[in-house]
């Protein structure tokens, strides 16, 4: 496998532990091609890890007023970073190396996109986000920062 094997799993989780949007991407840094390199069995693990880290987030959300909670959990070599919006929507990114600042920038872009989604009067909180434009823009943000 050429280039970096770093892969990211990104998920937006609603207020009822429900995923609103999911994406996987590889890194473009260090000659990466941006293609996620998760093995098949990692797929469900990513979801388990993301889901279980909500326990930690529910703890941290009362300890900090920040929206960007940085890394909140770790499972084996997978870190979980979290951004928590005012409306209790969680952006989670699973990654294998700590890098707080690029992830913050990525999350900031995601928040922008999420707010825009929310401005759509036909969208309601906790609804799955299926817009392809959203998907493209998220991936562009990932390419830019991760």
């Amino acid at each position: 496998m050429a280039g970096s094997t770093t892969s990211y799993y990104f998920v937006i989780i609603g207020t009822k532990d429900n995923p609103l949007y999911e994406a996987e991407f590889g890194t473009f840094k260090q000659g990466g091609d941006g293609v996620p390199k998760f093995r098949e069995e990692q797929r469900h693990m990513n979801q388990f890890i993301a889901h279980s880290s909500l326990d930690c987030i529910e703890d941290l959300q009362w300890a900090s007023k920040e929206m960007y909670l940085k890394t909140v959990d770790k499972f084996n070599n997978t870190w979980v970073s979290c951004f928590l919006t005012g409306g209790n929507i969680k952006f989670l990114l699973l990654h294998d190396a700590r890098s707080d600042e690029p992830i913050r920038q990525f999350f900031t872009d995601v928040y922008d996109l999420y707010c825009k989604t929310l401005m759509n009067p036909f969208y309601e909180v906790n609804m799955a986000i299926r817009s392809q434009t959203f998907d493209q823009k998220i991936k562009a943000a990932a390419k830019k920062y991760l």
């Binding site: 532990d17 979801q47 388990f48 889901h51 326990d55 529910e58 703890d59």
Partner: protein, 714 residues
């Protein structure tokens, strides 16, 4: 939704008619020739047959793991009598009775106050077994070499180098298969089979059963030696002397202190010999050997079930895995009637043995230990003061040692022998360790903690890494047992640091996986008992223990499940369960279920799935759902016949999910109708307190409720 559920081969075998592997069938055919009671007897001594109070009490497992070891050294004529009874030797006859000493045992702690134990125990070992388990180092002493600047290929470490671990796994596997079999044949319901923690406790107990004889700890070194002759012996006194001598000359590792207590027993054959003669002989024994003597009157005739006072021979719960495996295998080979006959002894024999053990422990061993603890405590400490010029306020103050190594002392030669990776038993360091271990065995956790805490630095200065690791391990364990509140500071500065260091030493320097695993699992249990944040720490270290167990073994599955149990202990606070770890617990139970399925232990897997399922009941994570459906299928949780209907119901579920929103709205309107009149009445006369608004809209962070709401005028 309809997920593509593939039916794997292992699931097919799980759901199909033949769930059993060939080996499994073989064994089931063996047991099926017997009655159901013989089925049970094959596995008596598993968690299922243990008294509940012991099963539940993890602390008692830990207490009973660290107990005084008593070597058994007997003449051939004693074993002749026992063989007539249908048992191989005296050791096998008495060992299970040491696991619960009759009545209360009282000991004095270092403060001089007496403590009572309801459940004191000792462990009997054959003296020859201690000798037979020498570390290879003492045999080919020069073989060990110093590598890479202080890394030891220490042979004493090798003896704890996890030989026992695969055996424990194998044994548990056997027990679990048996439990599966009972479930499959409907002899036991799943609830009865203790799929919960019973097997984990069994695993833990087996892990703690066979402490290897090593230089860095003295738990398995004998505290006393039981020397026995029988009334049949022609020259009793000489034989006793000889046994004393042969015991002392036995080739036991040099670091084992041979100055243990000798306890002399005369075994009198009630059926064949004259009690008058034996009593006379016993008097003579007392004159020669002092007070530590006992006359054990037992019958040499074989006892069968139908005899009037027959009682079943107590099962040993603390048999090392290797022994228990050997026993199970040999019993499978034996024909069935021979098997059942050997399991009974006369009631009078049982009470005689119990009395002997009680007397020995209460009147000889405990006082002997107390005396030694007291004198070591005084002597060694004062001597250390003299040598090192250090001031030690230990055992008087908790966390007492403020000792810092002085320059003069580091210049003196160390007592540590790097060739054998051990201290000679007469050195202060070895005696201190022994003092701490003995205090620990008498459950004087505070004293033990103080001493472990102190010798740790000594070992460290000598670069005796194995000993350092041992002291670190016991520092934590004794600290947790003192019941002191575990503050966050203790968690991060003591427990985390020492555990990490000890594991590093055990695993990386010595490849002593057994020691590392024991250290981790005992700590995990104690932390788990503390609950709250400690339980989370327990989970963290249990996960670390998984790293020692990469392959999917029974141990790995059990520990994964335990991680879940640890998280589950952290329930969180209040009605909202804030700070709970429910999702994490569920995830680990699912992971354990996955491992169980790989091992073919479907009942265990089903249990784990049942525990985890509520958390994922309506999850919208597609892969989680698919994985769980697959697990259910593999473990036989879902019947293959139901599969078709499951798909259909999934589809309808999808449809209904699409219309859910509409439904909800309808419900909302209906609710609105019902809730009519729920609007709080507002009379405009409510008394209230004005909350000052800050300019930037920030909450007055430092302001407390009292300050802001003190009767301020509106």
């Amino acid at each position: 939704m309809a997920l593509p559920l593939e039916i794997p081969p292992r699931a097919r075998s799980a759901i199909g008619a033949s769930k059993a592997s060939p080996m499994y069938n073989l064994r089931s055919s063996i047991v099926s020739t017997g009655s159901t009671t013989s089925l049970a007897s094959l596995f008596a001594g598993t968690g299922a047959s243990l008294p509940r109070d012991i099963v539940d009490d993890i602390k008692s497992v830990i207490h009973h793991a660290f107990v005084p070891h008593i070597a058994v050294h007997v003449s051939d004529d004693v074993n002749d009598i026992i063989r007539e009874k249908g048992l191989p030797d005296l050791y096998q006859l008495i060992r299970s009775y040491g696991e619960k000493v009759q009545g209360r045992i009282t000991a004095r702690d270092s403060q001089g106050s007496s403590v009572t134990f309801e459940d004191f125990a000792v462990r009997f070992v054959r003296l020859s077994d201690i000798a037979q388990r020498p570390d290879r180092n003492s045999r080919n002493g020069a073989g060990s070499t110093l590598r890479n600047g202080g890394q030891w290929d220490g042979a004493s470490a090798e003896s704890m180098n996890s030989e026992e671990l695969p055996l424990v796994d194998e044994l548990l596997d056997l027990h679990l298969s048996h439990a599966e079999e009972l479930i499959e044949t409907s002899l036991a319901t799943e609830a009865e089979s203790h799929t919960g923690q019973a097997f984990y406790l069994l695993y833990l107990r087996k892990l703690l059963s066979g402490f290897p004889v090593t230089s860095h700890e003295t738990f398995s070194h004998p505290v006393a030696c039981l020397i026995a002759i029988s009334s049949r012996n022609p020259s009793p006194i000489d034989t006793l002397r000889q046994l004393y001598k042969s015991g002392a000359e036995m080739e036991i590792p040099g670091y084992v202190n041979k100055e243990y207590l000798r306890y002399y027993v005369l075994v009198h054959d009630e059926d064949k010999d004259d009690i008058q003669k034996s009593t006379a002989l016993f008097e003579q024994m007392k004159r020669h050997f002092g007070l530590h003597c006992h006359l054990l009157r037992i019958r040499s005739s074989m006892c069968i079930v139908s005899d009037e006072d027959s009682v079943p021979l107590a099962k040993s719960q603390w048999l090392p895995a290797s022994d228990e495996l050997a026993e199970l295998h040999s019993r499978q080979e034996d024909d069935i009637e021979g098997d059942s006959l050997s399991r009974f002894i006369h009631g009078s024999d049982e009470s005689a043995i119990k009395t002997m053990i009680r007397e020995m422990v209460a009147q000889s061993i405990i006082p002997f230990m107390e005396r030694n603890i007291a004198s070591w405590n005084d002597q060694i400490l004062s001597r250390r003061k003299g040598i090192g010029g250090r001031v030690l306020s230990f055992s008087r103050r908790f966390l007492g040692s403020t000792a810092t190594r002085s320059a003069t002392n580091s210049a003196t030669a160390s007592n540590f022998d790097p060739v054998t990776n051990s201290y000679d038993p007469v050195t202060p360091e070895a005696q201190m360790r022994k003092l701490a271990d003995w205090a620990f065995m008498l459950r004087d956790w505070k004293l033990a903690y103080d001493v472990y805490n102190t010798i740790r630095t000594d070992f460290n200065n000598d670069k005796a890494w194995l000993h350092v690791a041992g002291a670190q391990e016991m520092t934590i364990i004794s600290l947790l047992l003192t019941g002191q509140a575990i503050t966050p500071k203790i968690r991060t500065d003591t427990i985390d640091v020492y555990l990490d260091a000890a594991c590093y030493s055990y695993v990386t320097r010595f490849r002593a996986f057994y020691a590392a695993l024991r250290c981790l699992l005992v700590t995990v249990e104690l932390l788990r008992l503390s609950g709250g944040s400690s339980a989370e720490l327990a989970a963290k270290w249990a996960i670390k223990a998984l790293d020692l167990n990469i392959r999917p073994t029974v141990g790995r599955a059990l520990i994964s499940q335990r991680v879940g149990d640890c998280y589950a202990v952290r329930q969180g606070a209040g009605s909202g369960g804030w700070g709970g770890r429910r999702r994490k617990a569920a995830m680990w139970h699912v992971l354990a279920a996955d491992t169980w399925i790989q091992l073919g232990k479907y009942a265990q897997a089903r249990h784990c799935i049942d525990v985890a399922m509520p958390r994922y009941m309506s999850t919208e994570f597609v892969y989680i759902r698919r994985f769980l459906d697959q697990l259910k299928l593999d473990s036989g949780h879902v019947n293959l016949l139901d599969l078709g209907s499951m798909k259909i119901s999934d589809d309808t579920e999808k449809d209904s999910a699409d219309t859910d929103d509409v439904d909800e709205e309808k419900v909302d309107i209906a609710e609105a109708l019902i809730e009519e009149g729920e609007k709080p009445r507002f009379d405009g006369k409510r008394r209230s307190i004005l909350i000052p608004q800050t300019a930037n809209g920030d909450a007055p962070g430092m302001m407390t409720m009292e300050e802001s709401f003190n009767d301020r005028p509106l």
